[in-house]
Amino acid sequence: MTIKLTINGVPHQLDVEPDMPLLWALRDELKLTGTKFGCGVAACGACTVHVDGQPVRSCSYPIDAAADSSVTTIEGLGGAEGTHAVQRAWIENQVPQCGYCQSGMIMAVTALLDENPTPSDADIDAAITNICRCGTYPRIRKAIHELAATNNKSRKG
């Protein structure tokens, strides 16, 4: 069956099974390999993308659920500017090590900050449950707080 959806602003029509997880449509059909396979059971978050702005774990998200939706992957996150504020904060704080989980981590964090621009530690703990085996968590927390401080400042300003 043909599934229509927009990915990073580009319309696509895919002839795939409706229950194919969005992850494998992205990676194997469209060669968008920035989104990573980690567990296949929505436990690790490496495959996180946005569907209509909401974070989803694409390994367990059937593509027909994304039909007629707008999907954003790590490749499209920066938009016209090229680099999103979260990506810049990741560079500034030297967050990634092996980097494999960071596409999903960054997508989860951007979704959190869109929803809640000044999250508390408890908000971060509840929202960001992605796994990083390199243990970059302390830097992730620090980077999120820096972004929140900037958001707070601009909101007050």
Binding site: E17, M20, P21, L23, W24, R27, D28, E29, K31, T33, G34, T35, K36, F37, G38, C39, G40, V41, A43, C44, A46, T73, I74, E75, G78, T83, Q87, W90, I91, Q94, V95, P96, Q97, C98, G99, Y100, C101, Q102, S103, I106, I124, D125, A126, I128, T129, N130, I131, C132, R133, C134, G135, T136, Y137, P138, R139, I140, R141
Partner: protein, 726 residues
């Protein structure tokens, strides 16, 4: 960041517009000295390269794998320091596919980027080619060796030699004395005449000189790059999703294979009915090798869905009754039989003491659980093999593929890609990922990306061995230890059982018990077990003596000033001895591994019956440090890796096979459970130690020692999830 390929260096257009490449290799005599000093195979990795282009950019070609430890930045820093390069003009290139070094003609082409070959550079070039062709496994990344060996002996020397060549070229050009010329920020200047030339402008002339294998290295007090925090080269691509990992390999006409191996290690395919998935969309082939099957399709999901429905069974190769329980029973029986070999005997262990203590410790098997599931892409055709893989030792992969396929290593090409974590799993110790991929690829015409599901990755691992360790100690009237006995299973790395503490009588021995479980090196190797054992039992001695655990250790470290300083530093950082909030306690642990001494103090509490680690203070003496922020990141990383093992890590066996399948039943630390971490670096000037591994071993005992302080319960087995603190 671009990896070199045959094409772009042969034609010389793929990088930054050609340029001069200077190859530095070392005389065998020098190598022999270093080998004698270090006695590891890593010491052979001593050929480093620098390319200078006419636009004055410097590319450092790094023969190690980037798996998150920052080596692709730290090694160029070491070369740039000695070379006096402007760091803003320095780039990194991953060392090229390995057969290029092993092929004499091609490596000469590589050396000179297709340009003329100065005769004087011929011997080192030939020697490098010869040496690398002889030693198939000298490109390993592991054992925290990259900085210690390649960096200290390769990169720094190469950088200094290149600087000498550039100065010589400038001096000749200007007709002045070399001694009056100074290299700084990628330029050579002659102050008296005001002459100035960029490295790029001098590079071609410099390449005509023979590199000096023993140039004068800078005094560390003059360092301007080493010891400063630099942003890593690999990070911008990683935050954009642009870094290419093994799993991202995309080769024309490639298909995807999903693997299922015999669940009981050593088992074989007993029955296979390919018709069970006949006619399904996208399925290309079902391939059988002796211990596994693979479904090949045009898409991972199609292949994995079909694999789940495939009718296949495996035998248990006689291991169907093995469980974790039967393994630990055999371990205990071996200790009870006490026929282990002697490791150290000193003094008389039967000496009387005022108090005697005994304790048995144990730890389970552990999986690496790197975020990128295992995978390897291979194309086997017409007696040749091409491989795309993220691996710690691409040259060993090349040799292993050749061996498995029965072809010459010259006919195997390995394209090294990024590693999505490894922690030892993608090392050369167990190259099942190479073996299975090439055996499957050999049965089809097209390139095939062979992939492990997470479940397969977890159940077909190369496991940190389970082990047990039995201690006996005696204390004198004042509580000081007079004897230390340790008998343990199994002999993985005997240096790991040495203790830094001054105890006169030591008797340490090991017994071997073989199992069918595949062995893997796991971050910090045997120090991951013995660090927990030794530092826990030391804590037991301190408490038995009624003494403070920091003060007790301090009194036994007079002969180990580095350990003493690290211990004092971490105690100061954590303000050891301060009053703590109700329900909190501190624990300390101290461990040297891979040349770096690490002390940690953990602050813990019990929440809802479970251990909560709030804060870890870490003092580390690696001798000196190249990229301080990168070193701190490695300490943080190793601590969290060690804490995951301490709190949750456990692979168990039942009916001969691993029971855990995926992250839901192999839990790991996450943001909500990760502690605050503070790291301080002590630059003692000792021989450079490692960064990637040494902070893992103290993490578990710092926590369990804190739990003893908090609850009075001594933890002698991991993980903590199996202990009830309610």
């Amino acid at each position: 960041m671009a990896a070199l390929t045959r094409r772009n260096f042969l034609v010389g257009t793929g990088l930054v517009g050609g340029g001069i490449l200077l190859g530095i290799s070392f005389a065998p005599g020098r190598l022999a000295t270093i080998r004698k000093q270090y006695k590891t195979k890593e010491a052979s990795v001593l050929t480093t390269w620098v390319r200078i282009t006419q636009d004055n950019r410097v590319s450092v070609i790094v023969p190690h794998s980037e798996m998150g430890q920052g080596v692709h930045t730290a090694l160029p820093m070491m070369l740039a320091e000695e070379m006096e390069a402007d760091w803003d003009l320095v780039r990194m290139e991953q060392a090229p596919a390995n057969e290029l070094f092993a092929n004499d003609a091609v490596s000469k082409g590589f050396l000179l980027n297709g340009q003329r070959l100065p005769a004087i550079l011929n011997p080192p070039a030939d020697w490098a080619s010869y040496k690398l062709a002889q030693l198939l496994d000298v490109q390993t990344t592991g054992g925290s060796s990259s900085i210690r060996f390649t960096g200290e002996f390769g990169m720094r020397t190469a950088g200094a030699a290149v600087k000498e060549m550039l100065i010589k070229a400038a001096a000749e050009k200007w007709g002045v004395a070399e001694d009056d010329c100074v290299a700084r920020l990628s330029h050579v200047t002659h102050e008296k005449s005001g002459a100035k030339a960029s490295f790029g402008a001098l590079a071609e002339a410099a390449a005509a000189f023979e590199p000096n294998a023993t140039p004068t290295l800078k005094d560390k007090k003059d360092f301007t790059i080493i010891g400063t925090s630099k942003q890593r080269f690999d990070i911008p691509d990683k935050v954009r999703g642009a870094a290419v990992y093994g799993i991202d390999a995309d080769v024309p006409n490639m298909r995807i294979a999903v693997l299922k191996a015999a669940p009981v290690f050593g088992g074989h395919v007993a029955q296979l009915d390919k018709s069970s998935i006949a006619g399904r969309r996208g399925i290309e082939d079902v391939v059988q090798i002796k211990d596994a099957v693979a479904v090949i399709a045009d898409n991972y999901w199609r292949a994995s869905s079909a694999l789940a429905d495939l009718s296949v069974s495996f035998d248990a190769a006689g291991h169907g009754d093995v469980s974790s329980e039967t393994i630990f029973t055999r371990f205990r029986a071996a200790l009870d039989a006490d026929d282990g070999k002697t490791n150290i005997v000193q003094g008389d262990v039967s000496i009387d003491g005022a108090r005697a203590l005994e304790a048995d410790y144990k730890v389970p098997y552990l999986d690496h659980a790197a975020m990128e599931p295992m995978n390897c892409t291979a194309h086997v055709k017409d007696g040749k093999c091409e491989i795309w893989v993220g691996a710690q030792d691409p040259l060993a992969c090349r040799g292993h593929a050749a061996k498995v396929l029965g072809i010459s290593a010259d006919d195997v090409t390995v394209h090294p890609l990024m590693l999505g974590g490894s922690f030892g799993r993608r090392s050369g110790v167990l190259m099942d990922y190479i073996e299975r991929a090439v055996l499957i690829a050999a049965q089809v015409d097209y390139p095939v990306k062979v992939m492990w599901s997470r479940e397969e990755d977890m159940q077909q691992g190369a496991y940190r061995p389970a082990s047990i360790s039995r201690f006996k100690a005696k204390l004198d009237e004042k509580g000081a230890p007079t004897s230390w006995e340790n008998h343990y299973i199994r002999d993985e790395e005997s240096a790991a059982v040495h203790i830094p503490y001054a105890i006169e009588n030591q008797y340490i021995r090991v017994s071997e018990v073989d199992t069918h479980v595949p062995y893997g090196v796991w971050r910090s190797v045997a120090s991951s077990q013995h660090g927990f054992y030794i530092e826990s039992f030391m804590d037991e001695l301190a408490h038995a003596a009624g003494q403070d655990p920091v003060a007790y250790r301090r009194a036994l470290l007079a002969d180990n000033p580095r350990h003493l300083e690290v211990l004092n530093k971490v105690a100061q950082m954590a303000d050891w001895g301060r009053p703590l909030p109700q329900g909190r306690a501190l624990g300390v642990a101290l461990r040297e591994s891979f040349g770096t001494v690490v002390g940690q103090i953990a602050e813990v509490s019990i929440e809802d019956g479970e251990t909560r680690v709030h804060h870890v203070w870490c003092a580390a003496d690696p001798g000196d440090v190249v990229n301080p922020d990168g070193f701190i990141a490695q300490m943080e990383s190793g601590i969290i890796y060690g804490l995951t093992a301490a709190l949750y890590g456990e692979i168990t066996l039942e009916n001969g096979q691993v029971q855990q399948e995926n992250f839901p039943d192999y839990e790991v630390l996450r943001l909500a459970t990760a502690p605050k971490i503070d790291v301080d670096i002590i630059r003692s000037g000792a021989t450079l130690g490692g960064a990637g591994e040494p902070s893992t071993p103290p993490a578990a005992p710092a926590v369990t020692n804190a739990l003893f302080a908090l609850t009075g319960k001594r933890i002698r087995s991991l993980p903590l999830k199996n202990h009830d603190f309610a």
